[in-house]
Symmetry: C2
Subunit: 157 residues, 2 copies
């Protein structure tokens, strides 16, 4: 049986994100998994996701790094819970700070791989570092601070 992605453990009301929501038919539907103590997502850009022809635009890379990190934060917070506190859903995180370093142009006609590392977990806050890899080369890195949504907060809509 195929294991579920982190995003499939979000509650329905928290599954509308354009970047990673399983209920957003127009969006990227990024899916993230554990791979040992790292996290992994894969994404294939569309031909129109160009910056300059042949390369991916930076906004998509920022978006992928962002959603990979909120997913990693959710999974890390869930993993840290005592078993008695684990429900069937993951907590949901939002981003407080996103930093992306663009190291070299990212080629568009390939699968992009994102590898995440949990750098810090303290209370409701998780710091995640991300490497974005295209054709075997790290073309961008991210450092992202995500925070668990308060329990009493519900989206409008």
């Amino acid at each position: 049986m195929q294991k579920l992605s982190f995003q499939e453990y979000y509650t329905a009301e928290f599954s509308h994100c354009y970047g990673c929501g399983t209920n957003n038919k127009d969006g990227h539907q990024l899916k993230t998994y554990w791979e040992g103590n790292k996290t992994i997502s894969k994404f294939t850009p569309k031909p129109y996701h160009t910056a300059l022809p042949g390369f991916v635009y930076g906004g998509l890379l920022a978006s992928l790094i962002d959603c990979h990190s909120t997913g990693t934060g959710s999974a890390a917070l869930y993993k840290a819970l005592p078993d008695s506190d684990k429900s069937e859903n993951y907590p949901r995180c939002v981003t407080a700070q996103l930093k992306v370093d663009y190291l070299s142009p990212t080629p568009i006609a390939c699968v992009l791989t994102l590898i995440g590392t949990v750098k810090e977990l303290k209370g409701r806050k998780v710091v995640v570092s991300v490497e974005l890899i295209a054709k075997g080369k790290v073309t961008a890195t991210g450092e992202v601070v995500v925070v668990q949504v308060p329990d009493d907060w519900h989206p409008k809509g």
Copy 2:
């Protein structure tokens, strides 16, 4: 006569960006202008650009801040040229580093305004700070380092 946006001064080969390229029919086509010594862009998110229902996903905000900053960098570099070196096109910048602070959730059903300030211009590098405003409130800020594309570099495509 309506004045042209910065992005309309890019050469055709540099006008394919999903975020701001005038030749990318699928993209956001962000347009940026001088307003005094600041720069301004406006953008209305689509209903599916959600994070949590009612709010804009962070990847779109990062993308808008990114393209607003590359546009601001291009215009600032052009403005700094001696008149004798000014052609009909602006130089094109790419992003080296993007940092976004998400201060509060950004409501989706409104026009977003981005205001840019040139913090530093040194050689081919420009540092731009950005405020993203929704319904009169700054909901995100950006600090972006952009670099002029080398003159001898041409995109594949």
